[in-house]
């Protein structure tokens, strides 16, 4: 019965039914497709709000490579007197070795830095020289402390003074100021912590404090649990009009030394021996610094001028001793020589002028005062020769002039003449021809 009407309906109805099913299927497929498209559109919507950018652009949003790697190549030709074994007159020999004569390769600096995560940034600076790699800096710095605070930890160049934080490739002269060589052996580094705070004012005001191991000259490594050195510094700076900017600072460094050693000549009747002079006591340094920069309309590219000066005062108080292994030396086995108190001042002033694109000339004057030293001459000179450079009342001086040429921001060639009278009875006319080349992601310099 049932089959009959169906059969009666015949092929016409069957065909209509099939068409209906086909249409339903098609319509469902279209709806599914539409839904799928809407889903896909929803997925890509955030991407669409940023225009499509082809090529390498997107990967470089952080500004360079990650990590940023830069390499600084430095070398020089230096002509001057042989001053090996001599020290700056009147000052405790700080272990600063001058650059060698002739053609030399200076240290090559390898710098790796990057943001570690949103909260920290890290930097490593290794100075490579023949057979040695010295870690100049290795620190982390906070990015997210806020309220003007920044904490730095690890090994870093101390924030005292102005030039101390700069690496040699950023110096305006081929060598460090004489006073920095005499007081810190070039630059003072800390293994420790630095906390800085910038005031929320339109006038730039920055306060900083450091706690460190204090192993570097003028201190010594004393193998203690507590910190060996502390430093405080304050900086103020601002613009004057569009073309001038300045920064001034005052810094204080306190550290201690135990058996700080330096070569001295003794009073042995059989002929002078080289013995170890030993200082144990406190060493405090006060630094005042001032920098003034001029660039017409704030555009240093064509012409600019920079004046920079730092004044130092070093006060030390403690005990002097000497030690030797030579049988005829008065210092044999170690000899206490009584109290030693000294207060010495000095500084430098320099000016660098870029008079046309790529070319700069500069002049620097270094002066050191002998200052005052208080000790008991009877006991000291019984063991140590009064002719030792340290006991000299001589006032060292140096004049330097330089010219450098930078074809781009990444290369620099420099010629420097210096009349160095830092050693008594010796006037050293030095000629230095130097190159500084930066490879890779060279980081921006501070003011």
């Amino acid at each position: 019965m049932l089959a009959l009407p169906a059969a009666a309906a015949g092929d016409e109805d069957l065909k209509a039914l099939r068409e209906e099913i086909a249409q339903m299927k098609k319509s469902y497929e279209q709806r599914i497709e539409a839904l799928e498209q809407r889903l896909a559109a929803a997925d890509t919507a955030p991407a669409k709000s940023q225009p499509a950018q082809s090529g390498a652009g997107a990967a470089h949003a952080a500004g360079g490579f990650n990590p940023e790697i830069s390499l600084i190549l430095q070398g020089q030709y230096r002509r001057g007197r042989d001053t090996s074994g001599r020290a700056i007159a009147g000052y405790w020999p700080g272990g600063a070795e001058g650059a060698g004569r002739g053609l030399t390769l200076d240290e090559s600096e390898l710098v790796v830095s990057a943001n570690i995560d949103p909260y920290y940034r890290g930097l490593l600076n290794v100075a490579l020289k023949d057979g040695q790699a010295e870690v100049e800096e290795a620190w982390f710095q906070t990015l997210g402390l806020g309220n003007g605070f920044t904490l730095k930890g690890g090994r870093f160049l101390s924030g005292i003074g102005y030039q101390n934080e700069q690496h040699p490739h950023a110096w305006d002269f081929a060598d460090a100021p004489l006073m920095a060589q005499a007081l810190f052996g070039g630059a003072y580094g800390q293994d420790g912590l630095q906390l800085k705070w910038v005031a929320p004012t339109d006038l730039f005001m920055e306060l900083g404090a450091e706690l460190g191991r204090g192993a570097g000259f003028p201190g010594t490594d004393r193998n203690r649990n507590s910190a060996g050195a502390s430093a405080l510094f304050a900086h103020v700076g601002d613009d004057v009009g569009r073309s001038h900017a300045w920064r001034a600072g005052l810094s204080w460094l306190s550290t201690r030394a135990k058996d700080r050693e330096a070569p001295f000549a003794d009073t042995d009747a059989a002929g002078p021996n080289e013995v170890a002079g030993l200082f144990t006591g406190r060493s405090r340094t006060l630094v005042a610094d001032f920098v003034w920069k001029w660039a017409p309309e704030g555009n240093p590219k064509e012409r600019n001028f920079k004046f920079q000066t730092e004044l130092f005062r070093r006060s030390e108080s403690g005990d002097l001793a000497c030690a030797s292994g030579v049988a005829t030396s008065p210092c044999l086995g170690g000899l206490a020589l009584g109290d030693l108190r000294s207060r010495q001042t000095g500084g430098y002033a320099q000016a660098v002028w870029q008079f046309m694109p790529q070319w700069r000339v500069g002049y620097r004057y270094d002066w050191l005062n002998a200052g005052s030293k208080r000790y008991d001459p009877a006991s000291v000179f019984a063991a140590l020769d009064p002719a030792n450079a340290y006991f000299s009342g001589y006032r060292p001086q140096r004049h330097s002039i330089m010219a450098d040429w930078s074809q781009s921001e990444f290369s620099r060639l420099r010629l420097q003449f210096a009349r160095d009278r830092s050693m008594q009875g010796l006037s050293d006319n030095q000629v230095t021809l130097q190159y500084i080349m930066s490879l890779g992601a060279h980081g921006a310099h501070k003011f």
Binding site: P51, G55, P118, W197, V198, A199, T201, D202, K293, A444
Partner: protein, 296 residues
Amino acid sequence: MKRFVLLFLLAAALPVRAELRVFACEPEWAALAKELGGDKVSAYSATHALQDPHRIEARPSLIARARSAQLVACTGADLEAGWLPPVLRESGNAAVQPGRPGYFEAAQFVVRLEIPLKLDRAEGDVHAAGNPHIQLDPRNLLAVAGPLAKRLGELDAANAAHYAARQQAFAERMRAAIARWEKEAAPLRGMRVIAQHKSFSYLFHWLGLVEAGTLEPKPGIEPGSAHLAQLLTQAKAQQARLIVRTPYDSPRPGEWLAERSGIPLATLPFTVGGSERAQDLFGLFDDTLAKLKGAP
């Protein structure tokens, strides 16, 4: 003494400003923030039109301004790589570090031109992220205005509607102005121009001008005499009609070429404040077009 110092610091910190404090790296972003924020924002521009934004010193005054900023609005694309990173790090201001809501990079929101295929310093001071001088195509300003208004609204939620409304109004005015400028500049299409640096690529791209050479042999490298001599023959062969420079470029290479080739030299404003007339974003393009149309 200590008490005095503390009092002094407090007094200096006291004047609390109610506006949202924007630190803009370039004048165009300060102008745009002001268009979008009105009296609800105070905009400080770290550079001005006579400064080359590549070569800025990380001066103490910039650190002090970044310290109290709530939003740092910059071009990005490595334009400020030589000075902004130390300024932000030294400022101790967590809110404006890259990656935080208080740090805004305009170049992220536009299609950048001239992304190099090869990264080699032998090619000069190339920007890996492409040409960063995006402000001279007003369509880029429209593209940046939306996200910037949104960011202002996120940082200052109480005034979000205010920023959104001002952005709408700005976009309408800008669209109308763009239509007018494009009509005015239609006869300039195809004009050959020599530029100092790749500073005007977006302007040329927008108006259909053709760059017939640059005074710098390579980005960031000073023009030398050999290159200029070659450019002189090139300029004549290509029938260049105008030499353009920014207010901060040295005028000498352009003047040298202008004198020998007879092609006039024009100083385009480049950014807000770059000329008498370019006192806001609209004046910037009015003046730029007027100077381009002045070419013979």
